[in-house]
Amino acid sequence: MHLAKLLPTFLAEAEEHLQILEEGVLQLEREGADAGLVQSLFRSAHTLKGSAAALGFRRMAELTHRMEEVLDALRGGRRSAEGLADLLLACVDALRSLRQEVAETGEERTEVGELVRQLEAWQEGASAETLHPVEVRIRLREDCPMRAARALALLQILRREGEVEQVVPSEEEIRGGALDLELSCRARVREPEVLLELLSGADVESVRVLPASEAPRDERWLDLGPQARGKLLQDPEVSRRAALRTVRVDVERLDRIMNLVGELVVDRIRFQQIAHRLRAGERAHGLLEEILDATAHLGRVATDLQAQVLKTRMLPMEHLFSRFPRYVRDLARRSGKEVEVVLEGQDVELDRSILEQIGGPLMHLVRNAVDHGIESPEERERLGKPRTGRLRLAAYQEDGIVVVVEDDGRGIDTDRVRRRAVELRILSPEAAARLTEREAVELIFHPGLSTAAVVTDVSGRGVGMDAVRAGVQAVGGSLEVETERSRGTRFLLRLPLTLAIVRAVTVTCGGERYVVPISSVHEIVEIPASRVHRVGACRTTVLRGSVLPLVSVHEILDLPVPPDPDRLLCVVVSFGRRRVGLWVDGVVGEGEVVVKPLGNYLGEVPGVLGATILGDGRVALILDPARLVRLAVREEELAHVG
């Protein structure tokens, strides 16, 4: 009965303790078991155990109970912390999934038995069973009957030997008949040596078992699949934070908001009184001063209220940054690198909606920096650099907020980027040679290149840099890159302070009004019809010496196209280095608009960022120019004319 009331508090509290535990364990791993540190870990586990037990979450309670005992043993100096960090981090991960499940469904699903056993084993001094991460590749014989059943049976065997973390194709896909002949698994097993024997059989052509770190990357794992394009922002790591939808607001702030709301009520009464006096026959112009006065007051209150509410939406960068030490640790471990993370500007505040949305892009940049930027310790030594690479994440306030992701690795090899662009026929060899260094660096944001480069090493994981840039632009920001060969790469994300209000141009098109965020508007021009040319399906013109593709908003949005106007009114938008003119019917004006979501019923509407309410109470859609242009023209065609 009380559960529904207590749950939000519990979830928020759990998140905090999980954060403390995670940071603490990382510190434990780096610096060893300091008494104060172990004490604070113990306290968090203990508190979490208490509240989980009180709410009847048995698995969380059991796991934290075991963690508590292990930490107690550590505190008493009975055991050293050697090898414990991995186990404790696995526990933190399990607790996190449990927390998520409880938040979403009210039930605990994640199994904790294995972890509890390992914690017990560690505590008993018997070294916890070590599991070796391996990759297993199985190829079935062509004449193998019932391949799917065979593959599932093999998986069963593997499961008995340890934990299977990932299977390609997935079990559902296998059941659905997706299995060709090859099955790849990532697993952690007790004895890799026995696998060969266990897994081979009459129907199996070959079995390869590789230590996970040595296995060549399999691009199928890197590819996030067809839905990945829009999903970059929904990295599981990110959503775990995004799921925390509650805010803690300073009481003082709330009081100020309440006061302002009180003022609004007063204003309403004033307007009512004016209306009564008008109705009673009082002369209107005598009341004019009062109406103006009340309106001015209302305006001030609205502005203040807006500012106060905006402040309640702000969160410190810490919310985002704090997950990176752990993330980088795991990445570095996997790729055999040594990376130190430096965090700066943790208290810089950013609108929570932006914070949530840049998590994905930021993560991608960090992953790139560790995977491709920072060299292996040996290579760094050879180059006379310190063995440990440095990854700096910083935030500071300028015009808006600037977030920096900087590594001291090898930098972007522009020669390679040029070569790649030529290979992929994005550029002719001559054009590639003509590019300045800066322009060559910018090529990494070209969609064709960043996709195709996935399996080489410019990008990281099947998500192109163009998607990262698009993600940043979706929140009205921009992404720049600075790089120096063998010195490192720095990405700068320039972000607006808030997403809730944007400056925008209102345009009319086909009888509707639309809003275009000013961050992407370059200029507004009128082009005489005589200077508009058709190249294939695309209209173009020449503006100050360079070719400008024109896109008809009418056509993309299925609105009636006006019959041959003599001038085309175009909003020139830019994204990346590309400029495109959006042909509209008219421009109404420029101003601030409050961004509203379209709601989850409609989901994501292509080409539309959200909606806003205009002065007359009607809704206008906020257009996403970059997406709109993609809807209109195939990338290739743009590449030809642009």
């Binding site: 067809p226 509707e512 949005l557 709601g599 019923y601 009607r618």
Partner: protein
């Protein structure tokens, strides 16, 4: 199908008119009823999505129930209303020809959908209630709001944007 609802003694309905039929919304899903207003259309949305409106600062989608059911388009007049329903935390407006009454009907007068003849709308119904001389078609709001068609539409989108498929930025 909602067994529990039909097992109860009474059902509380908002009854609306659409074409020549009377339909009933379970009252617990009805948030409010507002007059028809100007709707902002959504590009590339399914045909039955009329657009979005401003409901006191919240932007909500509006469906045309006639188009949803494949009925002929009707005249919009002074009686046209938007029934704002709330389900799974989303608010959605549904355009109907008129709102007739709010009424309670005994559960035993409800005929479950298995016994109904298959017609175009039957998929959207959770039963039919006998009331007075006529019948009230009870809406299965989950089905009405289901946007499977739109999902299919959205899945098509990458293909539309990048006809080659593999050229899509991932």
């Amino acid at each position: 199908m909602d067994r529990k609802a039909t097992g109860e003694l009474e059902q509380h309905l908002v009854v609306v008119r659409l074409d020549r039929e009377r339909y009933g919304f379970a009252i617990e899903h009805v948030h409010e009823i507002i007059r028809m207003q100007e709707v902002t259309r959504i590009p590339r949305a399914p045909e039955f999505v009329e657009g979005v409106i401003n409901l006191r600062g919240q932007v909500i989608p509006v469906l045309d129930l006639r188009r949803r059911f494949g009925l002929p388009a009707g005249e919009r007049d002074g009686a046209t209303r938007i029934v704002v329903v709330e389900m799974n935390g989303s608010r959605v407006g549904v355009v109907v020809d008129a709102v007739l009454e709010v009424l309670r009907i005994p559960a035993r007068s409800v005929v479950p959908p298995e016994e109904l003849l298959a017609t175009g709308q039957v998929a959207f119904l959770r039963g039919v209630a006998k009331h007075g001389e006529g019948l009230i078609l009870l809406l299965d709001l989950h089905r009405v709001l289901e946007i499977a068609e739109q999902q299919a539409l959205r899945d098509l989108e990458p293909a539309l944007t990048h006809p080659e498929g593999d050229g899509a930025p991932r």
